[in-house]
């Protein structure tokens, strides 16, 4: 702190910058404060008190009522189940493929990589109708597997891209020693590559978990039965039905958002490294 004050005296612009950054950050966090405050107010309190006035008496019951009305026990369960299956499975499939593309000799490696990287660029939001048609023709509408398969297809390309560039950076001596010792590629992959890839895998795991947890559009077309809705679908329907119960609506928003926020706050550094490894290595 003292060092900073000293540098402020030397460079007043730095002080101005610091204050500006704090003011903007206050603006950025204001919506959260507003939502959390409203979620703890009774409807009459919402109408009577200012936006940033803390609730006069805390209405915890908003959360309970919203939880039941919004059927959150079902949607949280569905979201959790889909994420718990999809995220590790996707990473395993992507890691295997990335290893093959980076370390196994084949004439087609480059073409296959290009084909897969192309997938990181396709906006699936454009193709919701054919995705529904496909899942429907397989008889998988309203099933977990029917949602997980397209999730995998659109999640894998980015993960392969990141893991491929990471695997290529692993020193050749390391894998060749294992191969010469008689280990096959699968053993080399499992014993040599997976352990040193753990930090990258952790970063991809967290990123993918949040992405899966938040996905809305694909779930909207595939999960049409309310019993199979994921959390974002549940929130959307809650807004449609109870948009005038302000306290409860905001309690529903907080409930939906909280898990992702907690995951972020706990695993912050992985987010940054995960994003950065993909985008900036050049």
């Amino acid at each position: 702190m003292n060092a900073m004050l000293k540098s402020f005296r030397r460079d007043p612009l730095l002080a101005a910058l610091w204050i500006a950054l704090i003011v903007v950050a206050a603006l950025w966090i204001a919506p959260f404060v507003f939502i959390v405050f409203t979620s703890l107010k009774t409807t009459s309190d919402v109408m009577a008190t200012g936006a940033f006035t803390p609730p006069t008496e805390i209405a915890w019951e908003n959360y309970g009522v919203a939880w039941n009305r919004g059927n959150f026990s079902t949607t949280v369960f569905n979201s959790a189940l889909v994420a718990v299956i999809k995220v590790p499975l996707g990473l395993a499939i992507a890691a295997l493929a990335a290893y093959a593309l980076a370390r196994m000799k084949s004439r087609f490696n480059r073409a296959v990589l290009l084909f897969i990287v192309f997938g990181t660029m396709i906006p699936f939001q454009v193709m919701l109708a054919p995705l529904f048609t496909l899942v429907n023709s397989l008889g998988l509408v309203n099933t977990y597997i029917g949602l997980i398969l397209p999730y995998l297809a659109f999640g894998i390309p980015y993960q392969i891209f990141i893991l491929h560039s990471f695997f290529r950076g692993v020193p050749k001596e390391l894998s060749e020693a294992a191969l010469i010792d008689g280990a096959g590629h699968f053993t080399t992959f499992r014993r040599v590559f997976l352990p040193i890839t753990l930090p990258v895998l952790a970063a991809l795991f967290i990123l993918d978990f949040v992405a899966t947890w938040n996905e809305f559009a694909m779930a909207l077309v595939i999960m049409q039965d309310a019993g199979k809705w994921t959390l974002p679908l549940g929130l959307m329907s809650f807004q449609g039905q109870f948009s005038n119960d302000y306290g409860q609506l905001n309690a529903a928003i907080v409930t939906t958002v909280l898990p992702a926020v907690l995951v972020y706050l706990i695993f912050q550094r992985y987010f940054v490294s995960g994003l950065a490894s993909g985008a900036v290595k050049g």
Binding site: M4, L17, W18, A20, L21, V24, A25, W28, I29, P31, I35, T38, V46, M47, A51, A100, L101, V112, L113, I116, V117, F118, M121, I122, P123, F124, Q125, V126, M127, A129, P130, F132, L134, L149, P150, L152, A153, I156, P157, I160, S165, R168, H185, F186, W213, N214, F216, A217, L235, M236, S243, Y246, T256, V257, V263, F271, V272, L275, A279, V280
Partner: protein
């Protein structure tokens, strides 16, 4: 038997097969299928899909007024997305790159909206834009503008821009983090040398920092572009395309045509047009990044 396993261990296709199969069936096939749909008449239920040539395209391009609204909105949205979030993100990153107390907390705050579900962002902002008790209405009332509270999402002329404000709030942190990572590639000794030589802040930025973060700038712009085409949830949640289609976007209109009006042919034609635009923009970037991949 053991030999067979041994052989399998070294067969690259076995490593690739699961990924390629799922990817080809659930990501590539829908793209092919939507292209076929765009030349057919189909309501999504009939067993038969009738080939109708180019008539879906003709209808969409010449008779569907909403398509052109959506087209113009998508272009406006994309251009704004290429300017606002990256620029604010870059400014924040440059600021947070200085040795300031609490900068990791500040960084966390700016990034927080990125990890929230877009549909939750839409729900939050819809409530904040509530013309009676929403955040903005209350603040305007407190400041004495209570009589002239705009109907944020209800006004055809401005609704799109209010939706975009929510989008900026969510996206800025994403650009910021990428720029912060890119700024780590800037050679500190070069910056110091420039300052010793008497270069001001702007000149140092222009001639030292900017060339070093050029690859990052490219990446941020391409990713912002793709993100902006994907903007579906936030529009769906905030306005659903309304009022009277004034915030309609191409991706959402394709969805509406197919899944709500049950005209899969016209929906398909819109999808194909949007896919073509995406591919035309993305291919040069892919070539550029594959060249880099080959070099590293």
């Amino acid at each position: 038997m053991k030999n067979l396993f041994r052989k399998m261990e070294d067969e690259p296709w076995l490593f690739l097969a699961p990924a390629l199969l799922i990817y080809a069936i659930f990501a590539i096939w829908p793209m092919i299928d939507v292209t076929m749909m765009s030349f057919q008449r189909w309501n999504g239920l009939d067993p038969e899909r009738v080939f109708v040539g180019l008539s879906n395209y003709r209808y969409v391009l010449t008779q569907d007024a909403v398509f052109w609204t959506a087209f113009v909105n998508t272009v406006i949205w994309t251009l704004l997305s290429l300017v606002c979030p990256p620029l604010i993100g870059l400014l924040l990153a440059l600021g947070l790159n200085q040795p300031l107390v609490g900068r990791s907390a500040l960084r966390a705050i700016y990034y927080l909206p990125v990890i929230i579900a877009p549909i939750a962002v839409a729900t939050m902002w819809r409530w904040m834009y509530d013309p009676f008790f929403g955040l903005f209405a209350q603040m305007l009332t407190n400041w004495g503008f209570g009589t002239s509270i705009p109907d944020f999402l209800g006004n055809r002329e401005t609704a799109l821009y209010w939706v975009f404000v929510a989008y900026v709030w969510q996206q800025v942190g994403f650009s910021m983090v990428l720029f912060l990572a890119g700024l780590q590639n800037v050679d500190r000794s070069l910056v110091e040398a420039a300052q010793i030589d008497g270069a001001g802040r702007w000149k140092t930025f222009r001639y030292v920092t900017m060339p070093a973060i050029m690859p990052t700038i490219t990446i941020v712009l391409v990713l912002s572009l793709i993100q902006s085409i994907k903007a579906f949830d936030i529009v769906y949640g905030l306005t659903g395309g309304g009022p009277s289609q004034s915030t309609q976007m191409l991706a959402l209109w394709a969805f509406t045509q197919s899944m709500q009006i049950f005209d899969f042919g016209r929906g398909g034609a819109i999808s194909v047009i949007l896919l073509l635009i995406t591919v035309v923009i993305v291919i040069p970037y892919l070539r550029w990044s594959m060249k880099n991949e080959g070099r590293s």
